[in-house]
């Protein structure tokens, strides 16, 4: 197979080599955060973390652990670079987005270090495509300083329930308001659009609610335009955890199963909308 002959000759040069029998295990999860062009890759012995940011208020991260890959070799402790995610996704799906069972695109992703392009070897049905994508120096990432000790409210929901709500959200509303409370309404999503106000309530003893840990009543608003891209991650996920901290910062964590049933995570951090302050 062409890919394996490449590895014998090329392996020594690359500081990162990551292989997948099914490229969709990478492309699907990257699609969940692909709302902007520039993505920052942070690679450690644990695996791949890919980050996209928007207007300094939103950060989306996709985590693909090292054990998801059939081969994962990293010669340094940390490797970081920035690539155009749209281009990367076009390359990963070069053979089309077909979901014919048994037909997979195999991937070998290689990186030689600072200044070198990200090289992808993709193979399907005996046809090999080689892509070299230019990399840039990674921009500094925002640290949202969101740690579990500061979490005031946390729920874990089954994604199906939220998927329905998100698909019906009134997009004419500039904000999505989230209320979490140890008492009624427990967990409420609200919109204020041209058609009027809408509320989606999830009681704490609902079947969909897997975990409910709310200590304090909090209401926060987030710009709808910032949260809209998170619906892609929601669509792929089976569970989602929603947490807010004392400052009203929001953390959404999505549990995603790939084609082989392995688990990956996608996480969104969002700042509250500062224009309107409401703490009911």
């Amino acid at each position: 197979m062409p890919l394996s002959t490449q590895s014998q000759s090329g392996n020594d040069e690359y500081i990162l080599v990551a292989s997948l029998d099914n490229a969709r295990n990478l492309s699907n999860i990257l699609k969940a955060i692909s709302f902007k062009d520039h993505a920052i890759f942070n690679v450690t012995q644990n695996g791949l973390k890919v980050t996209i940011e928007d207007s300094k208020c939103l950060q989306a991260n996709a985590f693909i652990q090292a054990d998801i890959f059939q081969e994962f070799t990293l010669k340094e402790d940390v490797v970081g670079f920035q690539v155009n995610l749209t281009v990367l996704l076009d390359c990963l799906t070069i053979f089309g987005g077909s979901t014919v069972p048994g037909v997979n695109t195999a991937l070998r992703m290689c990186y030689n270090g600072y200044g070198y392009p990200l090289t992808l070897f993709l193979e399907e049905g005996g046809v090999v495509t080689v892509c070299k994508i230019n990399t840039q120096e990674p921009e500094e990432l925002i640290d949202f300083d969101f740690c579990s000790t500061n979490v005031t409210n946390k729920v874990i929901l089954q994604s199906d329930s939220l998927k329905e709500a998100f698909s019906e959200l009134d997009m004419t509303s500039e904000v999505l308001q989230l209320t979490m409370s140890p008492s009624h309404p427990y967990f409420r999503l609200s919109t204020f659009g041209n058609s009027g106000n809408a509320h989606y309530d999830y009681p704490k003893d609902s079947d969909m609610m897997e975990l409910f840990q709310c200590t304090k009543t909090q209401t926060n608003r987030y710009k709808m335009s910032l949260l809209k891209p998170s619906t892609k991650a929601l669509a792929l996920s089976c569970k989602v955890s929603v947490r807010t901290d004392g400052r009203g910062f929001l953390s959404l964590q999505y549990l995603v199963r790939n084609d082989d049933g392995q688990i990956c995570f996608v996480e969104y951090y969002c700042c509250p909308d500062e224009e309107v302050e409401s703490n009911e």
């Binding site: 062409p2 155009n84 749209t86 281009v87 076009d90 390359c91 799906t93 070069i94 053979f95 089309g96 077909s98 392009p117 399907e124 049905g125 005996g126 046809v127 090999v128 495509t129 080689v130 892509c131 070299k132 994508i133 230019n134």
Partner: protein, 307 residues
Amino acid sequence: MKFRAKINDVGCLNHFTRVLNTITKLTKTCVLRLTVDNVYFVLSGKVANGGVSMWCELLQVNFFDEYQLEGVSSEANEICLEVAPENLSRALKTAQNAKSVKIKLTKKHCPCLTLAAELPSLSSIGRIVTHDIPVDIIPRRLWHDFKEPTMPDFDVSIYLPPLKTMKSVVDRMKNLSNYLVVEANLNGEMNLKIETDLVSVTTHFRDLGNPPWGDNAVQSQSRDVETMAHARVDIRKLQQFLMGQQVNPNKSMCTRLSQHTETRCSDLQTGVKSTTYISMWAKQRRWLLTSGEHRVTTLHSPSTTPL
């Protein structure tokens, strides 16, 4: 000028319809050239910077049970018409189950191709659906534009990979670049390449096979089997051409590379020979328009010239 023809066989009718559907996807208007032996659909590439030209030749006896032609004059026993292939496709769509289809050149308020389809009917009286398709008669002085371009010496001729794979790759490449380079050699290897500031992508196809050519064209015998011939193509035109191709197991598709890329499709069973050119060089365009004036040798430049 007179033309009347009739198709009685449903298989022939379907095949004719399929050919027209493919042509409709490629162009809004084209030239229909009728001779005693053949029906040709021609699109000459009058585009400034590369585009699709097409030459499709149908052996009349393989489609029509009756065929009568009286051309413009006895020395020029042909008729050339400009027509919108979509009009023909649409008319043929209603004639899908027809017992017979007659095509005639008529004069209504303007010259027309009249299609009369006899449709099966439960009652004893048959139903006839008639379509009048307006056409423009092309005067003789312009006919030289539509003669079959003679094949230049080409460097490489190769069978194309499965269309589905090629379409997927070209679709993705179109998102990344405006131009694509096609490379092929006599070892059955073909590469599609794009290169921009952001990214370079090369797709390698192997074991494609090279067709043997015995007709007019002369394949260069002394050519090293591994050397690649390459041609640079506008991706949108290539995509347009690939979209028009309908999968047919009887067809063999191959590309010849000399200075331009030509994809030739020959249906070995029923005598449809169609050649679509995707031309890229200004030089090429001159040649296609004034076919016959240029000698092949002046056009042919070494394929290894870097682009």
